[in-house]
């Protein structure tokens, strides 16, 4: 196959190329960087001018793209005049890109201390002395931002974590550290959800004695997580990954209100494991339960008293 024919074939394969470009963007490549890389990896050795013409990217930008891709280590130049370029194989390129990202994260981690040190070296001004009270609000958008906050809350928790929401609400966090951290937490964990024993669930690894069933009427309305009775993350829109929005706050009023709501629903809910419910029914007769029984006794007793009085006054009356 001639190079021209291959180029034509690549135009025909627009859709998978676009899909690949989109995927490569996740590895910190711009759409045009991804296009150039894919072009070279499929067509083979080419000059900057060839790349520019074939991909209809301005020449200056093409030089810049080729230079960046070389710095990233996923294409290389071949000595000659004019200079030609070729791509590193896709497997190796992906390893390189992943490692680049890892290194960047490591740099960020190590740089953290220097930033804090520098920040501390700057004296505080008098006007900055105002202390932030317990009424902070933060709006979080997108799964990743929410996930980072959730993980932070669970890690920092030392007393209790209360989770309320349907399995579908939390499904977006399946196979993330969220469920692992919940499983490992040493805090008292209580989950109210529509979990059933059928199918795969976000909370499937959590002991059933920590999970109660969320009934129909409460399923669609709320989704929130409370940490140590002093922080809450409240989901506002929970549909698409990008559109997911949540609000985090340490407002005492807000936390207390949602805490009370949780306690109310928790009190009335049953454990997901029916045998657990059954054993509780036998041993843990609640105060409310006893009140209802007394009320029933009273109703029957009142009736009997009335009837026996009637019988006393009218002994001939039929029993």
């Amino acid at each position: 196959m001639t190079i021209d024919a291959l180029e034509e074939r690549m135009t025909e394969l627009d859709s998978p190329i676009n899909e690949l470009s989109r995927l490569l963007v996740k590895y910190d490549l711009t759409p045009n960087q991804a296009k150039v890389y894919l072009y070279l990896s499929k067509i083979g050795i080419k000059t900057a001018s060839d790349v520019s013409k074939s991909l209809r990217i301005p020449r200056t930008e093409t030089y810049h793209l080729l230079s960046t891709l070389q710095q990233k280590g996923i294409i290389f130049s071949v000595f000659g005049k004019p200079t030609k370029f070729n791509a590193v194989g896709i497997d190796e390129s992906l390893v390189i890109l992943v490692n680049n990202e890892k290194n960047r994260i490591n740099e960020l981690e190590t740089g953290k201390e220097s930033i804090i040190k520098l920040w501390k070296s700057i004296p505080k001004y008098a006007g900055n002395k105002e202390k932030a009270e317990d009424n902070k609000f933060q709006t979080l958008q997108g799964r990743n931002s929410i996930l980072v906050k959730l993980e932070q809350m669970i890690k920092e928790s030392s007393e209790n974590i209360l989770v309320l929401g349907t399995d579908s609400d939390f499904k977006k966090f399946h196979h993330t550290d969220f469920s692992n951290l919940l499983k490992k937490t040493k805090s008292e964990l209580k989950i109210l959800t529509d979990y059933s024993n059928k199918g795969i669930h976000v909370f499937e690894d959590i002991p059933s004695k920590k999970i109660k069933k969320l009934d129909d009427k409460n399923r669609e309305e709320f989704c929130f997580i409370i940490k140590d009775d002093n922080e809450v993350i409240f989901f506002m829109t929970n549909s698409e990954l990008k559109d997911m929005r949540a609000m985090w706050t340490d407002s005492k009023t807000f936390v207390t209100t949602l805490r009370s709501l949780f306690s109310l629903i928790w009190k009335k809910a049953h454990y997901i494991d029916e045998s657990n419910v059954e054993s509780l029914l036998g041993s843990e007769i609640t105060y409310e339960h006893r009140l209802r029984e007394i009320e029933q006794e009273k109703i029957i007793l009142n009736y009997l008293q009335k009837n026996f009085k009637l019988l006393e006054h009218n002994p001939g009356a039929k029993k």
Binding site: G282, S283, Q296, I300
Partner: protein, 137 residues
């Protein structure tokens, strides 16, 4: 079959029902028996789950009033035992409970074969009409 239940062919005489009450609350079972006997029905009482299950299996009753929350062998265990012997749907069982139970769970019990349910506390006349309605349904 008890004479007092006065069954006419397949029909049940709603004025003379044969009722089994399974409830660990002795106050309730004693007073309910007095009340139902005043109304000319015959009552058998079990204050323990296992005794209740045995009575259901041994005798035919027009209706069974079953409490859920009982120590050791509770109402759920009775339902499960009857289910395993395919006897749940052959008995007219009214779950009679003061437990906090959701509508979902009540519906589940009915789907499994429990005839109906009554939540305590209930007005005594309503209780009686529910018993008669279930027995004659």
């Amino acid at each position: 079959m008890s004479k007092s239940s006065a069954i006419k062919g397949n029909n049940i005489d709603s004025n003379h029902l044969n009722i089994l009450i399974i409830d660990d609350n002795e106050q309730i079972t004693k007073m309910l028996t007095t009340f139902l006997e005043l109304k000319n029905h015959k009552c058998t009482v079990a204050n323990e789950g296992k005794q209740g299950l045995a009575l259901i299996q041994e005798n035919k009753h027009d209706v069974v009033l079953l409490d859920l929350a009982m120590p050791e062998f509770n109402g759920y265990a009775i339902i499960k035992a009857l289910e395993s012997k395919d006897m749940l749907k052959n008995n007219k069982i009214i779950v009679f409970t003061a437990s906090t139970i959701t509508q979902d769970e009540l519906n589940q019990l009915v789907n499994r074969g429990v005839t109906s349910y009554i939540l305590k506390p209930i007005d005594i006349d309503l209780l009686l009409s529910k018993i008669i309605e279930t027995a004659t349904s």
